[in-house]
């Protein structure tokens, strides 16, 4: 270790201020008592006769208040202990931090190889394959939204609308005209990007919070229209019997013309899962590749410039209108692809899958991933969806924990897990900008 001096010599003051800790914990417990008094202490439910009945739950109330008291005690004590530690105690030795940096650089390729090999390793475990497909879907959505939010700095709270447009485009085109997945996929993307431009036009002048609210309203309008336009979309019943994808025309069925029969191997339903897995992996990687390439083009640089400062952008002669519209359109297009994939995987879609919570989830993935960092988004999607899976048994607590997680992450690391912005263009050497130095793009 490089820190030779023992910690105790640098610590003249006591580690704990016991009365202060106790006072804080007592205040928290008192607050909790007020907060939970009626909401937890009394439970109401519609009785057998139709009217409401209520009963008290003092034990739960006392347990919760006690939990808040103890939690606050530990938190405050921990904070004081942490503040009392001398600075620099936790600095890693140079060789170790270099090794860590090396490992961080290898993380991306390693993750990619693991993802490619996952169906081979877990061929028998259907659950893991399904989970992998789900995670990859969100990785793709995250990367798509990353173009709008992370690169162009346009806060979009209605991204799920494009996902819905893609899903419904494929579902309607395939069920009413019998078109195959491979024809519908590009169409779904084009239609979604068309809607992206449609949304983009009116909001060109808006910035920041207003933009967020308008996109939210837009997403809700799309959902409500889908919900109420019964003759076209089936309303709340959704669309079922959506055709499964084919391997470029060859169906993945046990029949005579199925892929398995053509290859001369015994049929297994896992083939389709593995095929879907690689399909979404390919789509996600295309999204990633396009994003990386676009960042090197003038349009990508214009996006990043727009994110940092819109006024300066305009002063430099960048056409902000086309810059914003392309960001919306391209982000929406990938959302549409993901939607078409979602429809073909599920075989059934309904407006329930496209609620505001989905938008918030994807946005949380992008923000948690550090807004602009491709690897960060992938890791965040893994963490979020994996975390959701852990709560599979306690469905009603899932969103509660999700909400707390967002708040906690925002308070703890507002810039996300990978919180720096590496500039794409640089002079002589690539220097990373600390995230504290750049202003949020308010465009």
């Amino acid at each position: 270790m490089t820190t030779a001096a023992p910690a105790s010599t640098a610590l003249p003051r006591p580690a704990f201020d016991v009365p202060a800790v106790l006072r804080k914990a007592l205040i928290s417990a008192g607050l909790a008592l007020v907060l939970f008094s009626l909401m937890i202490g009394v439970r109401t439910e519609a009785g057998p006769a139709g009217g409401l009945v209520w009963w008290t739950r003092f034990r739960e109330l006392v347990t919760l208040v006690a939990a808040v008291f103890i939690g606050s005690l530990l938190l405050e004590a921990g904070r004081q202990w942490f503040a009392a530690q001398p600075r620099g105690q936790f600095a890693l030795p140079r060789s170790l931090s270099a090794a860590l940096r090396f490992a961080a650089r290898l993380l991306g390729p390693a993750l990619l190889i693991f993802t490619l090999l996952l169906p081979v390793i877990f061929y028998q475990q259907r659950y893991i394959l399904d989970l992998g497909i789900l995670v990859l879907t969100y990785v793709m959505l995250g990367w798509g939204l990353n173009i709008v939010v992370g690169l162009a700095g346009l806060l979009d709270l209605g991204y799920v609308a494009f996902y819905a447009v893609g899903a419904y485009s494929y579902a309607l085109l395939s069920t009413s005209f019998g078109w195959s997945f491979w024809i519908c996929l590009p169409l779904a993307g084009i239609l979604a990007s068309f809607w992206g431009i449609l949304l983009g036009f009116p909001v060109l002048r808006l910035r920041g919070d207003y933009l967020a609210i308008v996109t939210l309203a837009f997403g809700e309008i799309i959902r409500l229209v889908i919900l109420n336009w019964q003759s076209l979309t089936g309303g709340p019943n959704g669309i079922s019997g959506i055709p499964r994808p084919t391997a470029f025309g060859i169906p993945l069925t046990p029949g005579e013309h199925g892929l398995a029969a053509l290859l001369g191997i015994p049929f297994s339903p896992t083939h389709r899962i593995v095929f879907l897995y690689y399909l979404i992996l390919a789509l996600a990687l295309i999204t990633n590749w396009v994003t990386i390439r676009l960042r090197a083009l003038p349009i990508g640089r214009a996006w990043e410039a727009l994110r940092e400062d819109e006024v300066a952008c305009r002063a430099l002669g960048i056409n902000t209108i086309s810059t914003k519209l392309t960001a919306f359109a391209i982000g929406a297009m990938f959302g549409g692809f993901a939607g078409a994939f979602f429809a073909t995987r599920q075989g059934f879609i309904s407006p329930e899958s496209f609620s505001f919570q989905e938008s918030a989830l994807v946005l949380a993935i992008v923000v948690l991933g550090g807004m602009g960092s491709q690897l960060g988004v992938a890791l965040a999607a893994l963490a979020m969806i994996g975390g959701f899976e852990l709560f599979r048994g306690f469905d009603q607590y899932r969103m509660l924990v999700f909400g707390f997680a967002i708040v906690f992450i925002m308070v703890w690391r507002p810039r996300g897990l990978v919180g720096h912005r590496a500039p794409t263009v640089f002079l002589n050497t690539r220097t990373t900008i600390s995230s504290d130095l750049v202003k949020e793009g308010r465009g």
């Binding site: 109401t44 409401l52 209520w54 806060l155 609210i213 309203a217 409500l224 308010r442």
Partner: protein, 305 residues
């Protein structure tokens, strides 16, 4: 014509509820410049606590309706204000110096927390109560068997709103807290230099907004006779629309916008389609933001480089 008058009355009542919620949005936006996304759910908490307090009071044998309502109002306002304070303390205060997106996302998280907390604590089913205030007046007996009705509930809602608005306006215009609030709205650093406790003023702003939202929650319960855990989201967006329509940051504007949204929604449902009433409200939000970003009574925002 009678039908139209009836819808006007209904719309004004609905509009006063939206207006009460909208004030919370506009105050917070004015002082900290963020959209308090969780405000709609604070309104929901207000409705829930009102319902529970009401049930307890009724089964304790109290029969005087005005007394019950007064106690319920005070209890709901008290508890909901604590919610408002806690939300600000946990989710917004640590982020005050952060970049603009952070408090907004944190607010979205808090909105999830509140609505799902209510779901976990009180169940997912809607909670109906029998009509608390019955009776009413027939204003005009028209032809065709249609009569313009004004129920006592509607009178109570409007009167409560007006009285509370009067108190609230007095607080903002005349008291020390109101002055502090307006000072912080204009320039927080300068206000702090002049001895205003900025942190406490911001907290109190949230508390006041939450108290008004609790009143709206009780009024909603009285008027519709039903609350559920998810009602905060849509009501919140509509109230935000009202705040924007009136000009965000402007208190009379919020009330005006609330009335306008209430009227538009009611008339839309009456003459076009009930299914698309939320679509109408959201479309208005989009249209207002595009064509009238400063709202009816708002000040234009000048961008400085």
């Amino acid at each position: 014509m009678d039908y139209f008058f009836q819808q006007m009355i209904n719309g004004l009542v609905l509009g006063s509820i939206y207006g009460l919620i909208a004030i919370g949005y506009t105050m917070v936006y004015g002082i900290v410049g963020m959209i308090n996304f969780a405000h709609g759910d604070i309104f929901m908490i207000g409705g829930m606590t009102s319902l529970i307090a009401f049930l307890i009071l009724v089964s304790s044998g109290l029969t005087t309706v005005p007394l019950i309502l007064l106690v319920v109002l005070l209890v709901a306002m008290g508890i909901t204000s604590v919610y408002g304070w806690t939300v600000e303390r946990i989710a917004y205060r640590p982020l005050r110096q952060s970049f603009r997106l952070a408090p907004m996302l944190s607010a979205i998280g808090m909105s999830f927390v509140l609505s799902n907390f209510a779901q976990v604590a009180q169940g997912a089913r809607v909670k109906p109560v029998p009509p608390i205030i019955g009776g009413g007046y027939t204003l005009h007996e028209g032809g065709g068997g249609f009569a313009v009705q004004l129920s006592n509930v509607q009178i109570v809602v409007v009167i409560t709103t007006v009285v509370l608005l009067a108190i609230f306006t007095f607080i903002v215009a005349r008291t020390r807290f109101g002055r502090d609030m307006r000072a912080c709205e204009q320039d927080q650093t300068m206000a702090a230099l002049l001895g205003v406790n900025v942190d406490r003023t911001i907290s109190m702003t949230f508390v006041t907004g939450a108290a008004l939202a609790a009143v709206a929650g009780l009024m909603y319960l009285l008027y519709y006779g039903v609350v559920d855990f998810a009602m905060g989201f849509v009501a919140g967006i509509k109230a935000f629309t009202a705040a924007v329509l009136g000009g965000i940051g402007s208190l009379p504007g919020a009330m005006l916008g609330g009335l306008a949204i209430g009227l538009i929604e009611t008339l839309w449902s009456a003459y076009f389609s009930v299914e698309y009433k939320d679509v109408a409200a959201f479309s208005i939000l989009i249209l207002v933001l595009i064509f009238l970003p400063t709202g009816l009574l708002g000040r234009p925002e000048v961008e400085k480089v």
